[in-house]
């Protein structure tokens, strides 16, 4: 009986050692490049390649100046390149909250958190110059930056940049409205107490 026990112990030990020897990571790390992985054979060390200059991927030709630059014949466009629906405004608000509030703040007054931490004062949208500029101008600034602001073309796709421009217009209205802007039927509600808190703000 005791010999059997020893045999068993030896067998377990042998199997364990054999199993350990089988622990290779070949399938965990397959011989392929993952996104953003380094590749020593490339001059800049990147496995993900930039498009060679002057090439256009199929379906990505940006020949719509109105949509992609916000300008037609060098003039900022005064019309949006597509109709803006309510759902678009909601997405505009969402994108604004992600990419713009750090500096421009929830209200668009230029008092975002990063400004409070030392970035140069961001522009408030609630000034006459910005209330009257063309939507194409807002789109251009979002895309290419202005003053200390860097462009956001890499972070935000073109369509979303237009939606942010549209939402900025809504923000401007929200901070510069008079009682006369409220439809007569709804004016009575202005004096009503605010709705109970608890509905979380859209994020």
């Amino acid at each position: 009986m005791r010999t059997d026990g020893r045999l068993l112990t030896c067998a377990v030990a042998l199997v364990s050692v054999a199993a350990l020897a089988g622990c290779r990571q070949d399938m965990h790390d397959a011989p392929r490049y993952e996104v953003f992985e380094a590749n020593a054979s490339m001059p800049d060390g990147r496995a993900s390649r930039n498009l060679p200059a002057g090439t256009v991927a199929r379906g990505q030709l940006r020949d719509d100046d109105h949509f992609y630059t916000g300008k037609v014949n060098g003039e900022f466009v005064t019309e949006y390149p597509f109709p803006i629906a309510a759902a678009d405004m909601a997405r505009g608000q969402d994108r604004y909250t992600v990419y713009c509030t750090p500096c421009h703040g929830q209200l668009g007054d230029g008092k975002g958190m990063v400004v409070q931490r030392g970035l140069r004062q961001a522009a408030t949208y609630h000034q006459d110059r910005l209330r009257t500029v063309a939507p194409g101008y807002l789109y251009d600034v979002i895309s290419n930056g202005f003053g200390a602001m860097q462009g956001y073309a890499e972070q935000v796709p073109a369509r979303d940049r237009w939606l942010i421009a549209a939402y900025i217009r809504a923000l401007q209205l929200s901070q510069n409205a008079s009682v006369n802007d409220v439809p007569a039927a709804d004016r009575g509600r202005l004096d009503a107490p605010p709705a109970a808190a608890g509905a979380p703000a859209a994020h």
């Binding site: 026990g5 377990v12 953003f36 931490r117």
Partner: protein, 215 residues
Amino acid sequence: MQIFPKSANAWSKASIFAVLGLVAGLGGAVGVMQRSDFVTAANTFRDQPVQFSHQHHVGGIGIDCRYCHTSVEVSSTAGIPPTKTCINCHSQIWSDSPYLEPVRSSFRDDKPLRWLRVHDMPDFVYFNHSIHVKKGMGCETCHGRVDRMPLMRQQNTLQMEWCLNCHRNPEQFVRPRSEVFTMGYVPAVDQRELGPQLVAEYKIQSLTNCSVCHR
């Protein structure tokens, strides 16, 4: 002549159980080791080129995950931001800090910062961020309270049993789409009530077929 004492009978019987116990103990030890941080690489810190603090940027300033991880809603990978994203603010803030010199030189020389990957799925696993985000899976569910991590670490094991725990019981983890990027989310009503509702609304399937992930 008998060389074994009489007690050898008892010992030999006991040794059967001792061996069984040893095997069970070994098995248990292997199981514990397989789930340990030592094997899963959870809770270890990588020596990154810059000690980037999610706690400061997410928890302190309140920057949304998507400000940097721009492709999380549309791509399999959440995306590691280019140095330009850092420069959006750090062209002005801490712009002469020696601490951030690697960031500035990366931007100057157009050489990417070599961040070390913290969450590394095995290559035989297919994973896509965008579908999880669309189905109401919060960042926090897998990545933990990133807003409380001064240095990034892997919160969970990323092992298959961990994936399956949620794929089998999505109703325990799903949250409203509006709260996906929220850190420290607490369901407004009981999750036992909300979960099944959201699973139905978002048409979440309990996908546990092998080929869902191992394609």
